[in-house]
Subunit: 345 residues, 4 copies
């Protein structure tokens, strides 16, 4: 089969690899129908994640068809359509039992990282019963690719951890795909005021059409002053960090109201300064989270009911074998006005 293979920093190729085969009774092999590229994949390609080694097939998102199911797989059979979760869950360790699949003792985020991933014609999924989600044939599979990672990530790490509630005033820092995922799913809880902060006017305008009540271009305006003016100097009930930089995290520290929440989604490469000399008495809560994908079934229900339209996130389409070109587009997201790209097998 063909797959996108990482060959060290800056090197990747769409090349021939052996088709995966069932090794454990709980495995399934899935034929990819549609997949996408994540910001994390760009980091891998730069060499930022040393655990990813030469020869690894990249990718941790996608929708596919069961090609073969191991003998202990009972939820799926050959021909079933499935969403592939970016998180692998064994379903029987201490962490999985408490719904913290991200830290599964045998799984977690391994796909396209420690084991071969989904940017390929076929992928092996361990613990298939707990790591795949059933969808009917005929479902809108492009939309559902957004349920592999980006929507549960924005929702669980940003919205749920941030305890977004009806009537709240929230700020989302970062209007890239993950910030937009938080923006879309925050509206499940009807906050009254949603402020989106970014440095790219195009992305801010998209945020506006997706439900932001206020947008701030922090390259042109003083974001802190503007947020304080919107909130009568109280700050926001919830600040969602969807970038992963020191500056954006520290901006969140200043935006959050007494009693508020700072929910981090961004992947950070460096330490930040936590201003405990002011925050110690502010009754705030700061959370971090690698997505658990426990909410995928719920998100699926709200896609089915029309409360959530994940296709809003999709800006570009390619054939799967054009994936190198797709990486170029996605890697120049600002210029290409790209949010998510869909690759169709």
């Amino acid at each position: 089969m063909k797959a996108l293979v990482y060959h060290g920093p800056g090197k990747k190729a769409w090349e021939e690899k052996p088709k995966p085969i069932i090794k454990e009774a709980t495995d399934a092999v899935v034929k990819i129908i549609k997949t996408t590229i994540c910001g994390t994949d760009l980091h891998i390609m730069k060499g930022d994640l040393p655990a990813v080694t030469d020869g690894r097939i990249i990718g941790h998102e996608g929708v596919g068809i069961i090609e073969e199911a191991g003998s202990a797989v009972t939820n799926f059979k050959k021909g079933d359509h499935v969403i592939i979760s970016c998180i692998t869950s064994c379903g029987k360790c201490e962490y999985c039992k408490k719904g913290m699949y991200s830290h599964c003792e045998k799984g977690g985020w391994i796909l396209g990282n420690l084991i071969d991933g989904t940017q390929a014609e076929y992928v092996l999924i361990p613990y298939a019963d707990n790591s795949l989600y059933p969808i009917p044939a005929g479902a809108d599979e492009e939309a559902l690719v957004m349920l592999s990672d980006i929507l549960p990530t924005g929702f669980e790490c940003g919205v749920l951890n941030g305890k977004v509630s009806p009537g709240d005033t929230i700020a989302i820092i970062g209007s890239g795909p993950i910030g937009i995922a938080a923006l879309l799913t925050s509206q499940f809880y009807s906050p009254a005021v949603i402020i989106v902060i970014d440095q790219d006017d195009n992305r801010l305008n998209i945020a506006k059409t997706f439900g932001a009540t206020h947008i701030i271009n922090s390259a042109k305006e003083n974001a802190l002053e503007k947020v304080m003016s919107i909130t009568n100097n109280k700050g926001v009930d919830t600040a969602i960090e969807a970038v992963g930089l020191v500056e954006t995290f520290e901006l969140c520290e200043t935006l959050v109201a007494a009693g508020g929440h700072l929910a981090n989604i961004g992947v950070h490469g460096k330490s930040v300064t936590l201003h405990m000399e002011t925050l110690w008495s502010r009754n705030i809560t700061i959370t971090t989270r690698l997505v658990d994908t426990v909410t995928t079934p719920m998100l699926y229900k709200n896609v089915q009911s029309g409360k959530l339209d994940p296709k809003k996130l999709i800006t570009h389409h390619f054939k799967l074998d054009e994936i190198v070109k797709a990486y170029d587009a996605f890697g120049n997201a600002a210029k290409e006005k790209a949010l998510k790209v869909i690759l169709t097998a």
Copy 2:
């Protein structure tokens, strides 16, 4: 001043009464701008609430202007516009401190019940700082009358107690004003499926336009069968009882899924049969609640942001001195296609 006075079962009059005056430093006198009639007022008029005695001014909802504030009132001054809460809260008893204003040791639901109420030109509000909510002059006061009772009741007793969550399947039994209030506010939490059950096609059609995804006329169809067919025989995550009859409560018992919630809003005059022989192992939660109106500030924020449009509930308008006529219309709600009536001073 003029006021609507209860004179025993079946007897009421719009008549002259003394204008109220400040008795305690924490009191305020409010000039009524707009008020409304509640289903409970109809019960009072029938004599169903023996605590309400001859000579009582009825009514527990309204928007007004501070006419005079006691010396210990600090949140309000003469001329301020306010929402009157149906629940009086002293702010300093054990119950008020835990947000259970309904059981305030000195307040609770006393307005138009144990003390004179709002269907009058002026009303005395005890513990004004904790029992009134500020609104800007120029606000949409008709809409805000709905925040005195009906919207917090539907939201707190039905939606919050019922733990309505994104993706849920819920049923609301009763499509009168209180059921509609639950319907509108349940959507703060983005349930995927909202089934409304009633015996009046007009009210069901209104429910449909207000967000119901399914409607069932239980006079014409088997509600249990239809709900089971919609839910793949699982039942609903939350059943909200918004009628107050034995039959509707017991219907809820059969509709609720394993692990689900039965949230009662209805005022009940009789015992019901609780089928513990089946429910004991179904992991369900049943809640009762007299509204606390703790969510009034939040509801106000969502009215301001446009997430909630309470005016949808208003079907009829009268002048305050036409209140006897308004009672006739509201008392024949089905025939008059009435939800809420507004009385303007």
Copy 3:
């Protein structure tokens, strides 16, 4: 092997049965070390549970050693010591994923009910990875038999559902094994006042030594009056029903304070009268639950730390092949002053 077999109402025998063998890759066969008898087993013997058919091996509690593990079992291997959960969990259905193992699509309470149980020399456990809990060799196995059912039942259905909190006033109705389990585990949350109500002085005295601050013999005293006197006429924050009769449930309805919880543990055979005419405005929560055994690992930690001493519950010891005699003792619990009996293989 030998096993206790049900042969229709009133008939049981300790007789020869085939030793179970692995059928599915996720099964394990466990050699019983210690088991016990549950109140539910007495109901089965009377014929109260028609789903239990002639020939069934009874019992759903015990500690044992893995005799053989199916090929897909990864948490256990031959020779490992384990607690057997009364609830079988597949770990991969919708209910198991949300921690509601009691309603597992393929499991739930099936052991000694729909499949052969633990009152035998060997037992087959389906979905062994999710239905057994590891214990070290050398652990106090008598104590740990109490973690199969009775302690998680008292804790989950009574204490957790009843939201027992520090400083609370609680009442436990029923001082049998399950009431005592609730009494012991309620103390994890440091309630200030614990009232135990029963009609057997011996059991009440045991309750007193296990942490009850007040005991009431409802055969001799007016339980309602006494509780109101203890609680300044407020009632209790949490009433735990640990009997399963109409009278005891309805007593709980009268004992619970405004804002309080009524947590049912009892297995009910009949409907009860729910006094909605008074309860509708009392802001109470009523819960039902079949135990999920999700707290078994936590309970095990508190046994290990000495915070919980389950051996307090054990009053009688027998050899496994004396089980018919043990049933006689347990069946005359009041006379025999029996709480839990231990059967040792």
Copy 4:
């Protein structure tokens, strides 16, 4: 009257001051029976809190008798015995209504800070109905002085925010009065393992007698290594920071397990480094809080029931007019083996 007055960094005097008088109808004047000294008072004396100005009477803890109550005070009358809360709550602002008294718009921590405090013969308490708690005459008033600040602070900021739960493994960093308060109140939730870390063997030994299951002297041992050895390299479910230094906060960051809580109690004067490069994917929660004293009534119930013995914290006694000597003892806590000192009027 006599009072302890701050006269700038390093300067204090027990001197004559005017007896306070009622200014607002909601005020009360309280005659001090017993008071104590807080670590914060030592900071004030050093000049670390510039908001405290020359002439201020210090102190924010104590038990007393109502000397005079303003006309709008209804919960108390002359002669009533009361606990004085360190936090003043108006009971009617947005923050008080949600139980966040620490940020009360007119109160919060003002006593002995922005207004005169309790280290005096009399003190004026604004909003007396919401800022004092009733106790019976004859109560153990020394014990109850601990409910003014230290016990609610340890409990709310450390135990509640840290979500300590039955079976948990927790670490408390700092074995001074506030760490000990967290240690005592953490046991309301029955954690299985309680590790206390400090650099003073005397305080660690006290922690051991108060319920610590493990103690670590971090001046002599590698605290991180030792905690990892106790926890099988998982870290702790909850790390409670009860010191307020950069080093102790950053130690907590390393101790907390994936999915765990870091609850800060310490008053910090400097920023800390937050290692987001590792923490971003660890699913942790960090909380800060100025005590709200919302749990004072609950703590009082557990003192009454004997679940909590606050007198354990008291090591030294002085007469109120010996307060300068008491400051010397408390200021040399390690040498004097002091936890809390009691000053009796």
